[in-house]
Symmetry: C2
Subunit: 145 residues, 2 copies
Amino acid sequence: MNYNAHVKPGSPDSCEAWQLMVQLFFAQRANLPPLAAELELSPAQCHVLHLIEPGRPIPMGQLAETLACHASNVTGLVDRLESRGLVRRRPSPADRRVKVLVLTQTGSRLRTLLLDRMTTPPDTLGRLSVSEQRALVRILTRLLE
Amino acid sequence: MNYNAHVKPGSPDSCEAWQLMVQLFFAQRANLPPLAAELELSPAQCHVLHLIEPGRPIPMGQLAETLACHASNVTGLVDRLESRGLVRRRPSPADRRVKVLVLTQTGSRLRTLLLDRMTTPPDTLGRLSVSEQRALVRILTRLLE
DNA sequence: TATTGTTATACTCTATAACTATA
DNA sequence: TATAGTTATAGAGTATAACAATA
């Protein structure tokens, strides 16, 4: 029998840190629906809007891959965003099978509003010292590499 | 005209830190469905399982509040978890309108498995120094207060 | 009367399978 | 043949409104 079967990789400190991250993730998960509803968006639509950067068309397939969902979902998701005038499908010049997504001006404005609301830090973050806030920025930057 | 209407509260550093957090949140949002599918759970069911701690019965209404969703969702969510033998509804002794949720032994084991997988830190976290990992633990702890 | 949870309904999200157009 | 996206279908997640049981 392999007694190491359930030994988790990672140092004790990194495990402890990630446990706290998971707490934050679930808290944020509950946070998104009400925030999205204020903008008359669903959480999934927020995710899509977050991923389409202004001036950076993205193929639908790449969106499906980043969302880790089936391509058929993206069709409906984009249908609804397009019917609201937030995004547009454009044929890709390189490969006529591919459709790329671009934000409309309305979509771009709503995206800015969304990100502005989402990235407003909670009060607890303001209670950290400036040096702690900078340490957090440095650490998170490396986590996202 | 109020030119401060769109000025975001929080120091520049805390805003920058929270922008990075939002990046992590969306990355994790895409991460959950495949992880949940391995355990034959949905993301929402994972959230519920995370919130029901073993030996700590929780009223359905409180679950709805923490999930920030309507009470009627919890009915269906719990229906499916109960039909799989993961949780049980129990009448509350204090108020007969209230039903509290408890994990079954199977549910408790699956919850442990879920949290174990979710809290396994990504490789990028292991690349931080031990002192950085400890700083992160200290900071996240205060964020969650 | 107010509150907890359920039911009925409608819409969105999601995966699977079959399809169309293009490569 | 293989790939990108769509359509059809079914099940899960979600909100609203009406309801039953209890407070």
